[in-house]
C-alpha cells in the first residue's frame, strides 16, 4: 500500500529564551505623546525576565513548532469521543471581523445588537436541534457545561426544599461526569452497563431513590451505542423526583435523528468544538452550551438574552438563577463559528450525522476480522475495538496506536472507555472521504499483520516523527514544569 506518512525536512528549534538577545523586540511600540509619570519605588518591580526576540525570530519559532504538530488539516484524526471533523475556514474569517473581535463585552445594548442577535438566534437553533426549550451559551467547554447542568439540578431540588446527595453515573461515562458531580457535592453512584454495552432498566430501578438527584447519561454512549432504554430509564428517574442529564459529547451521531427533549432528557450540554465544527485549538477554547426543558429555565445563568420588540437586551433580574459561571457570556468567538456552521449546513446537519454513523460502521465492518470487537452490533458515530487478538504477540493497544503514526494517521482514543480492556475507540466523523477511510483500514490491517510477523516494528514505533516515545514516568516523578535560562 502507499503510505501517507513519510519523512521530510523538519527543523530543530530551541526554547524561546535560548534564542533571546537583549535589546531585540518583535512589536512596534508607539512613541509616548504624554508626559511620563513617575512611579514610587515602593510599587515598581523589575519587570519579567522575558526573552527579547525580533519579529522574524518569533515567526520562525512558531512556524517550526507548528510543523511538529498533527492537526485535522494534516490528516485523518479519528480520536473517539472528540469529533475531530473539518473546521471550516470561512468561520475563522468571520470570527475575526473587527465588529466581533473588537467588541468590548460591556458595550451598552444599543452598541451591541449584532452580538446579541447572534446569541439569541444561536440559542434558538440549539433548542431546535436538541428539542429543548431554552439554552445558555455561557459554559466555556463540555465539562463546564456538565458542571452548569449539575448546578441547575442542585438549584431545582433546592427550590423544592430538597437537598439530594447522590447521582447515578454509568461506568462508560467520561471522567468529567463524576468530577463535575463532585464539585456539586454529589456522591457518584456507579451504574454498570448491561452485557450488550447499554444501561438496563432494572439496574437503574434498583439504584434510583429519593436521595438521588438524577442520572448523567452519555447518549450515544462512549461505546458508540445508543442507549435504547433511555425513555424507560428517564421515567424511573422522574418518578423518584430526579432529573436526567445527557452528556451531549456524541451529538454528532444523531442530529435530526433524535430530539433529546422528546426522550426524557431534562438538560443536555453540547460541545460546539465537536458537533458544530469549531477548531479544537490543541485543547481549547471550546464551548459547552446547556439546553434545558422549561422547568429548568428559571435557574439558567445570568444574563439571559431576550428580545424586546425589535431590540435585543440582556436580562439580569432572574431571582432563581444559579448566577454566573463565566465572567462574561462564555467563549463568544466560538459561538460565532458554530452559528456560521449551522447557517452553512441547514438541513445537511442530518446528513452529517448519517455520514458520521455510516463511516464508523464501515470501519467496524472492515476491521472486525483483525481486531477484537467486544460489542458486535450496529454502532453510532464511533466503534470500539480491543487489543485482545494481539495479546499472543504481547502487542498492546499503545503499540498499535504508535505504529499508526508511522502510517500517517493520528491514533484513535485509547484505553477509554474504561469498561473495555485495552480499548481502541475510532471516530472517523462525517468529513473524512472514503479513500482516507480505506487507507486507514488498510493501515490498521497491515499493523495487525506486523503484530504477528514482526512485533518489534510496533514496539519501536513511532520512528517517523521528530521525537520517539517519551519518558513519561520521569516527567511525572521529577516534574520540570517551568524552563530556566
Amino acid at each position: 500500500m502507499k503510505v501517507a506518512g513519510t519523512t521530510g525536512l523538519i527543523m530543530n528549534e530551541p526554547l524561546l529564551w535560548e534564542k533571546s538577545k537583549k535589546g531585540r523586540c518583535g512589536i512596534s511600540i508607539p512613541e509616548s505623546d504624554v508626559p511620563s509619570a513617575p512611579l514610587d519605588a515602593e510599587f515598581e518591580g523589575e519587570g519579567p525576565d522575558f526573552p527579547d526576540l525580533s519579529e522574524v525570530d518569533v515567526v520562525r519559532h512558531f512556524t517550526r513548532l507548528s510543523q511538529w504538530n498533527f492537526g485535522v488539516d494534516t490528516g485523518m484524526y479519528p480520536l473517539g469521543s472528540c469529533t475531530m471533523k473539518y473546521n471550516p475556514k470561512i468561520n475563522e474569517k468571520i470570527a475575526a471581523m473587527p465588529g466581533f473581535a473588537g467588541a468590548h463585552p460591556m458595550l451598552p445594548p444599543e452598541l451591541s445588537q449584532g452580538t446579541l442577535q447572534l446569541m439569541y438566534e444561536l440559542e434558538g437553533f440549539l433548542n431546535e436541534i436538541t428539542g429543548m426549550d431554552a439554552t445558555t451559551l455561557q459554559p466555556a467547554a463540555g465539562a463546564h457545561g456538565e458542571l452548569t447542568a449539575m448546578l441547575l439540578f442542585y438549584a431545582y431540588h433546592k427550590s423544592k426544599g430538597e437537598k439530594r446527595s447522590k447521582i447515578l453515573i454509568p461506568d462508560t461515562a467520561h471522567g468529567t461526569n463524576p468530577a463535575s458531580a463532585t464539585l456539586c457535592g454529589y456522591e457518584s453512584i456507579p451504574l454498570e452497563s448491561g452485557e450488550d454495552g447499554i444501561l438496563t432498566v432494572e439496574r437503574v430501578a434498583e439504584l434510583m431513590d429519593e436521595d438521588t438527584a438524577g442520572i448523567m447519561v452519555t447518549n450515544p454512549n462512549t461505546l458508540g451505542l445508543f442507549e435504547e432504554n433511555i425513555k424507560k430509564i428517564a421515567e424511573i428517574v422522574h418518578d423518584k423526583g430526579g432529573l436526567v442529564y445527557c452528556d451531549g459529547a456524541n451529538m454528532n451521531a444523531v442530529m435530526g435523528v433524535v430530539k433529546m427533549g422528546a426522550i426524557g432528557i431534562d438538560a443536555i450540554h453540547l460541545n460546539l468544538h465537536k458537533t458544530f465544527s469549531t477548531p479544537h485549538g490543541g485543547g481549547g477554547p471550546g464551548s459547552g452550551p446547556v439546553c434545558v426543558k422549561k422547568h429548568l429555565e428559571p435557574f439558567l445563568p445570568v444574563p439571559r438574552v431576550t428580545k424586546d420588540g425589535d431590540r435585543y437586551v440582556f436580562q439580569y433580574d432572574r431571582p432563581d438563577s444559579i448566577g454566573k459561571i463565566h465572567a462574561f457570556y462564555g467563549n463568544y468567538g466560538i459561538q460565532i463559528r458554530a452559528y456560521s456552521y449551522i447557517l452553512t449546513m441547514g438541513q445537511d446537519l442530518k446528513r452529517a450525522s448519517q455520514y458520521a454513523v455510516l463511516s464508523a460502521n464501515y470501519i467496524k465492518e472492515k476491521l472486525k476480522d483483525v481486531l477484537h470487537l467486544p460489542y458486535d452490533r450496529p454502532c453510532m458515530h464511533e466503534c470500539v475495538f480491543t487489543d485482545k487478538n494481539q495479546e499472543p504477540y504481547k502487542i498492546t493497544t499503545l503499540d498499535m496506536a504508535k505504529r499508526l503514526i508511522d502510517y500517517g494517521f493520528h491514533p484513535p482514543t485509547i484505553y477509554f472507555p474504561l469498561v473495555v480492556h485495552g480499548s481502541i475507540m475510532i471516530e472517523p466523523t462525517d468529513t473524512e472521504p472514503k479513500e482516507n477511510l480505506d487507507q486507514f483500514i488498510e493501515a490498521f490491517r497491515s499493523i495487525a499483520r506486523e503484530a504477528a510477523e514482526n512485533p518489534d516494528l510496533l514496539r519501536e514505533a513511532p520512528t517517523v516523527p521528530k521525537v520517539r516515545r517519551l519518558d513519561e514516568a520521569t516527567a511525572a516523578r521529577k516534574p520540570v514544569l517551568c524552563g530556566v535560562n
Binding site: 518583535g26 519579567p48 515567526v59 485535522v72 490543541g282 447557517l343 446528513r351 521525537v467 517519551l470
Partner: protein, 445 residues
C-alpha cells in the same frame, strides 16, 4: 455540501459493506419512539458568500474600535496586537489539533504551552503555571477551592475582597453555592485598597483573596495581604484582570503570593465580546499536586532528545474521576499559545515600555480630569484604569456620548450602590493624547 465528501456511489458502496439498505437503516437500533422523523426547522443552507454578507451585517451593528471610542477596561482591554500573532495562530497545525495525548506528533503544542507556563510564571513571579483555565473568574473559583483542598477541608472559609471584579465574585458564589464553604467579603478603605482588618482573628480561614490592580484600578498592598493570610495559616490568592500591569509593578510572587490567577486576555487576545480569553493559574511548586488543570512537563525520548508531555495526570478527571482536583478537560490552549506569541514578541524590553505607556496615558488623563475640576476619589496608585466621580446629573451626558459611539467608562453604582456618579475609566496605548483630550472635553462640557 462542500464539507461532506461522500458521493452517492461512495454511500452505496459503504451501505453495502455494512449490510444496510439505506442511511435511515443505520439508525435501526434507536427505538422508533425515540426517533425524530420531521425536518429540522432551521434556515435554508447559505452559500459562503451569503453567509459572509449576513455576518458582516451583524458585525456592522457593533461598536468596534477605532470608529467607536471605548474607554472601558473592567476585565477586557484593548491593546495593540502585532499582525504576526494572529497570522501565526492561524497555522492550522496548532488550531486543528486537540489535547496533546500523543506527544510524538504534538510537540508543537506541547513546547508552546511549556513556554507559556514558563513566561506566565515569570510575569507573575511564581514557580509553576498550569496550561490554562477557562477565564479569570473560573480560575479564581478554582484557586479558592484549591486552598480549601490544601487545608484538607479543616478550614473552609475564604475571605474575598469586594474590590475583586464583581462578576468574578458572582462566579465564585455560583461555584460555592452547593458546598458548605463560607465566603466572607472584605470591605474597602477610602484609599481604594482592601480593608484587611476583618481577617484578624478568623480561625477558619483557608485563603485571603484580593485582585491587583483591583476593580477600581488601584494597586493593592499585596505583601500586607500575604502577611495577613500567612498569620492565619491561610493561602494568599492574588487575582488580576490586567496582567500587563506586572510589566511595571511588583509581581505577586515577589510579595508572598501562594496562588496568582486571573484573566490573560490583555496579553494579545482579541476582546471578542468577552471570550475566548485565558484563565491564567500559577502557584508555588509545593502546591503543584493540588492544582487543577493540565500541566506540561519536560522529559526526553528513547534517543535522549528533549521533548514535552502532559504530566501529573493523576490529579485529573480522566484518571481520578470523582476524586480529581477539578473537572476541567478542554481549557483555553490556543489562547495560551496566542499569549505566548504576544509575550515573546514584546520581550522583557517591550513589555516594560508598553506597560509604562499604559500608566503614563492613564496618569495624563487623570491629571487632565482633575484640572477640569473632577474628583479622583481613590488615591492608591493605578495602572491603566481609575475611578472618577462626576457631578450629579452626569448620566445624561454619558448617555448622549453613547449615542455618538463614545463609551466614557462604566457606572459603578450597579455593583457598589454607595458609589453613585462614580465611573470606571480605562486608557491604554491604543488611545492617543488627542483621544484623551477629546474625551476630557466631552465629559467636562
Amino acid at each position: 455540501m462542500r464539507y461532506l465528501p461522500h458521493t452517492s456511489e461512495d454511500v452505496a458502496e459503504m451501505l453495502q459493506a455494512v449490510g444496510a439498505q439505506s442511511l435511515d437503516d443505520l439508525f435501526s437500533t434507536i427505538p422508533k419512539d425515540c426517533r425524530f422523523t420531521g425536518d429540522l426547522n432551521l434556515p435554508p443552507a447559505m452559500t459562503e458568500w451569503d453567509l459572509t454578507n449576513h455576518m458582516a451585517e451583524l458585525a456592522g451593528r457593533m461598536a468596534a474600535w477605532p470608529e467607536c471610542k471605548v474607554f472601558v477596561g473592567a476585565g477586557s482591554y484593548s491593546h495593540n496586537i502585532p499582525a504576526s500573532v494572529p497570522y501565526l495562530l492561524s497555522r492550522s497545525e496548532f488550531s486543528t489539533a486537540y489535547t496533546p495525548y500523543q506527544p510524538e506528533i504534538s510537540q508543537g503544542t506541547l513546547q508552546a504551552i511549556f513556554e507559556y507556563q514558563t513566561l506566565a510564571s515569570r510575569l507573575l513571579g511564581m514557580e509553576v503555571a498550569n496550561a490554562s483555565m477557562y477565564d479569570g473568574a473560573s480560575a479564581l473559583a478554582e484557586a479558592l477551592l484549591m486552598a480549601i483542598r490544601i487545608a484538607r477541608g479543616k478550614k473552609t472559609t475564604v475571605a474575598v475582597s469586594k474590590l475583586i471584579h464583581p462578576m468574578y465574585r458572582q462566579v465564585v458564589r455560583t461555584y460555592f453555592d452547593p458546598t458548605d464553604y463560607k465566603i466572607v467579603e472584605l470591605d474597602y478603605l477610602p484609599d481604594g485598597s482592601t480593608d484587611l482588618s476583618a481577617v484578624e482573628g478568623m480561625d477558619d480561614l483557608a485563603a485571603v483573596a484580593v485582585q491587583s490592580p483591583n476593580f477600581f484600578g488601584c494597586v493593592e498592598n499585596i505583601q500586607a495581604v500575604s502577611d495577613a493570610a500567612h498569620r492565619h495559616k491561610a493561602l494568599s490568592v492574588i487575582g488580576f484582570t490586567e496582567p500587563l500591569a506586572y510589566g511595571l509593578f511588583k509581581s505577586p510572587g515577589s510579595q508572598g503570593a501562594d496562588i496568582a490567577c486571573g484573566e490573560g486576555q490583555s496579553l494579545g487576545i482579541p476582546q471578542s465580546y468577552g471570550g475566548p480569553g485565558l484563565g491564567m493559574f500559577t502557584a508555588l511548586q509545593k502546591y503543584v499536586r493540588s492544582m487543577p488543570g493540565r500541566l506540561i512537563g519536560q522529559t526526553t525520548d528513547k534517543d535522549g532528545e528533549r521533548g514535552f508531555v502532559l504530566t501529573l495526570a493523576t490529579r485529573e478527571q480522566h484518571i481520578r474521576r470523582e476524586k480529581a482536583t477539578s473537572n476541567i478537560c478542554s481549557n483555553q490552549g490556543l489562547c495560551a499559545t496566542m499569549t505566548t506569541m504576544y509575550m515573546a514578541s514584546l520581550g522583557g524590553t517591550g513589555i516594560r515600555k508598553v506597560a509604562r505607556l499604559n500608566r503614563d496615558k492613564a496618569e495624563y488623563m487623570k491629571s487632565e480630569l482633575k484640572k477640569a475640576g473632577l474628583e479622583i476619589p481613590f488615591e492608591r496608585p493605578t495602572f491603566n484604569e481609575f475611578v472618577v466621580k462626576f457631578p450629579e446629573g452626569y448620566e445624561s451626558t454619558y448617555q448622549k456620548l453613547i449615542d455618538r459611539q463614545i463609551v466614557a467608562g462604566i457606572p459603578l453604582e450597579c455593583h457598589y450602590p454607595e458609589l453613585a456618579d462614580h465611573y470606571l475609566l480605562c486608557v491604554t496605548e491604543t488611545h492617543s493624547k488627542a483621544d484623551i483630550d477629546a474625551l476630557v472635553k466631552e465629559v467636562t462640557a
